[in-house]
Symmetry: C2
Subunit: 499 residues, 2 copies
């Protein structure tokens, strides 16, 4: 009957869960069997565990690839890595990949949050099955390239379940795929007051704020002025994210707010502020089309530069004050604090410098992919744009490179020094897409701004946009869910429960 004691002392005993007499017991019996079940740990244990981790791999183990990050680059790499050659350890503060092109749609309920999040264990099942492969919900705190070690610290959120602690992981190969951070250009108040649109929790916050403001503006006692402010949604940054979010928002207003918040429908407005031109990477005709369509659906396009942001208004360079109820910031990305702090060579713009094989050339066994990396000046190549398709292509290239190295026996630390790596990575731009709401999208299939090629706008593009993304969603489960979400939104309208 030593139920809890058993649990504590020998947790892996197979016989435990099912054969123990787990019935309602008189409480005098429990006293004896629970009394040893305490959480006290002696200081020495704590000391010991605080600095433990995964040591260098042994000869009878597979070499270990450590992947920092779980974005497009890291996940594409993990999906393709040959787990018969390598153990995979992923370190990231989130346990899922975000299908970023569809994130804007989740803010207004066109898609569910879950439909755009893909658990890493589903992308690479070995992580939860193989004894040497892991996912660690942690931040990377530093990299010791001399000793092939990564320093990590656990993420525990606001939940008081455990104190954060530090640990180390030795790597045979290290893939840095840490991504980038939203740029604020040092503008005061952006981080405190604006919401970015890069993670699922950002989309959740936007949705909560939007629905809260819609409801608050309906409550008696609020002035006309406050009502207009609360329902003024301002988007700063006219790149694809800003434009797509503005389009989704105006769709939501035209189709759902008018019906379901009819008391306040005339107060809600969307303003898109951009310092230069919107969608600057698209061709002129498409940009013109987007401008016309967005204006038609009620999005005001304003050219301006933001100087300062406070909790209820932002101030433009010329002194104009713009009150807002919701502020979404999408002015592009730059290197993260961690990337800046790493003692590694840098590319122009401050990203981690890489050569044509995506290696960090000054050290052994370290690669960098995605938004955190850029070609070193010495390669003579320009830094690639921070796009999902660049990251994904790099992840794809790198897993086959690592698989080749592994097959050739160069998987261990310091064992691939003089290996022939084959063809370098070459990026071919496949084109850009952006939806601008209400069955309209842009598809620009030119390889770069100067070259000629197909560019489409309108309903056909929108079909292309939907189909392209539906097929690119990572798992069948989410593909199914995205399709169901789209169908439901079409039939029933968007969901407005604020949960």
């Amino acid at each position: 009957m030593s139920l809890f004691k058993h649990l504590l002392r020998n947790p892996t005993a197979k016989s435990y869960s099912y054969s123990s007499p787990s019935i309602i017991m008189p409480s005098n019996l429990i006293l004896t069997c629970l009394s040893h079940f305490t959480t006290d740990a002696s200081p020495s244990t704590v000391q010991l565990t605080q600095y433990s981790g995964l040591g260098p791999t042994k000869a009878n183990e597979k070499p270990r690839v450590v992947v920092l990050g779980s974005g497009w680059a890291g996940c594409r790499l993990m999906k393709g890595i040959d787990t018969s050659l390598y153990d995979v350890v992923c370190v990231s503060p989130r346990n899922h990949m975000v299908f970023t092109p569809l994130l804007a749609s989740t803010c207004v309920g066109t898609l569910e949050f879950r439909s755009v999040a893909e658990p890493i264990a589903r992308i690479q099942p070995a992580i939860s099955r193989e004894p040497g492969s892991y996912f660690f919900l942690s931040h990377c705190a530093g990299i010791d390239t001399d000793n092939h070690v990564v320093h990590c610290e656990t993420v525990t959120d606001e939940l008081r379940t455990l104190e954060p602690w530090k640990f180390k992981i030795s790597y045979d190969k290290l893939v840095i795929a840490l991504g980038a951070e939203a740029s604020t250009f040092g503008i005061h108040g952006v981080k405190e007051n604006a919401t970015f649109l890069r993670e699922v929790h950002h989309a959740q916050e936007i949705r909560r704020k939007l629905l809260l403001n819609l409801m608050l503006s309906d409550v008696p006692g609020i002035s006309e002025e406050e009502k207009s402010r609360l329902l003024h949604c301002v988007v700063v940054g006219g790149g694809p994210t800003g434009v797509e979010f503005s389009g989704e928002l105006s769709d939501f207003i035209m189709r759902d707010v008018r019906q379901r918040y009819s008391h306040v429908k005339d107060y809600i407005h969307v303003t898109l502020i951009e310092a230069n031109e919107i969608l600057s990477s698209f061709d002129d005709r498409l940009r013109h089309y987007a401008t016309t369509q967005l204006s038609k659906s009620g999005v005001r396009l304003v050219r301006g530069i933001v100087k300062d942001v406070d909790s209820q208004k932002l101030i433009l360079n010329d002194g104009t004050e713009v009150p807002y109820g919701l502020l979404v910031w999408s002015t592009g990305v730059g290197p993260s604090t961690l990337v800046k702090s790493l003692d590694l060579p840098k590319s122009p713009g401050g990203r981690i410098g890489i050569d044509e094989w995506l290696r960090v050339p000054s050290v052994q066994d370290v690669f960098a992919v995605g938004d955190c990396s850029g070609y070193l000046e010495s390669t003579g190549k320009t830094v690639l744009p921070a796009l999902a398709q660049v990251a994904e292509r790099q992840g794809k290239y790198l897993f086959s490179l690592l698989n080749r190295i592994g097959k050739a026996g160069g998987g261990r630390a310091n064992s691939a020094k003089d290996m022939e790596l084959g063809d370098p990575f070459v990026y071919r731009h496949l084109g850009s897409m952006a939806t601008i709401g209400r069955y309209k999208a842009l598809v620009d299939l030119r390889q770069n701004k100067e070259s000629k090629g197909l560019s489409l706008a309108g309903f056909l593009s929108w079909l292309v946009w939907r189909s392209a993304y539906l097929t690119r969603v990572v798992s069948w489960r989410n593909r199914f869910y995205v399709a169901v979400n789209w169908a439901t939104t079409f039939v029933f309208g968007r969901d407005i429960s604020r949960i």
Copy 2:
């Protein structure tokens, strides 16, 4: 070109959104047109608006039914109220109804959160369409029955979008459907450390904690003891909620954790602590069956009384310490602080006292339904249990009573004093259902504990349970979503992304 000025001064102007020249403008132009767009309000305006609200209805308006709360009782009433007779105003801190019997399933990803939440605007569309009907995201702060006025205060969460403010609503008829609060029996530390299971955000918190603990327990540096603690899920309270949650949890462990968290699968355990017997309202045979099934699927049933709860362990009456990583508290409900504070007659147990027509008899035009209400001792009837089916039946009874009163011309305040109300409310228990995980459920169709009747357990019951709830989910949209969720879980397993 007075774009923002226009927005501010005349927000309802129809011509605004679509005909204004909303194009990229040179910034010197914006200066002039945005300069008046500020949020400053003079103190007198603030003073004025702080105390405004909805005054008594006028002769040319419909009488106003104010509903406090958005649970089973309030929502059933709103769904059925005749909006050609009445304007409906709902005051609640949440804009949706929770389909509580399925809430436990959302904690482990069997169902999505959205599938069990029904927006009030979908339950009663008049709330968003009719000019005199509203939903206010607010708490009720007090009731002035002499003047037929409700005092409210807006809910603004942690979002700093606006300061909370107070307002008043005059009612012709008032329906108090404020529900109840989870009982903690004054046990120290329950509110701070345990999670209840009554709202969607509770289920979200449980899910976040559970997935966090599963991931943290896998990180190097954690002792065996801490691992066992983190993955020890303790449920206190063996009523249907506690049993269903335990069942879902053991399902999740047996089907999903074993596959996807194989490194830690032997450390996770579920303990259900109950002071008396589990499922005490069900018949003996069913209870015995539930006990056997839960034990078989690894849930440990412990009889004990909790004395104290701290952040990592709870202490039983006999001094036993039980470390936990997740603590769910479901020991039933009692009157809320607001209900206790209301100066109205009370039933035995401290609920708002009602007569057989669900009226609060000492005052005019006030009714109380659901968990917040109970028969007055003077009626000679016993207080009904705090069940969804009681609340729903009362909501149903009351909307037809109010519709009858309205048709007979008694809709206004103080105009139905001497009206004949017809048959009193009679409650007939339709039976109880509870799922115990893994295609097993209990269905007890006896009218009360003493009477004879059909009682079922096993797979057939589980089919009955699923079908019964599927047909009772409020909207077709959610019915469709629940079915899709069940199918997806069956095919792909549960989702484990922590978003």
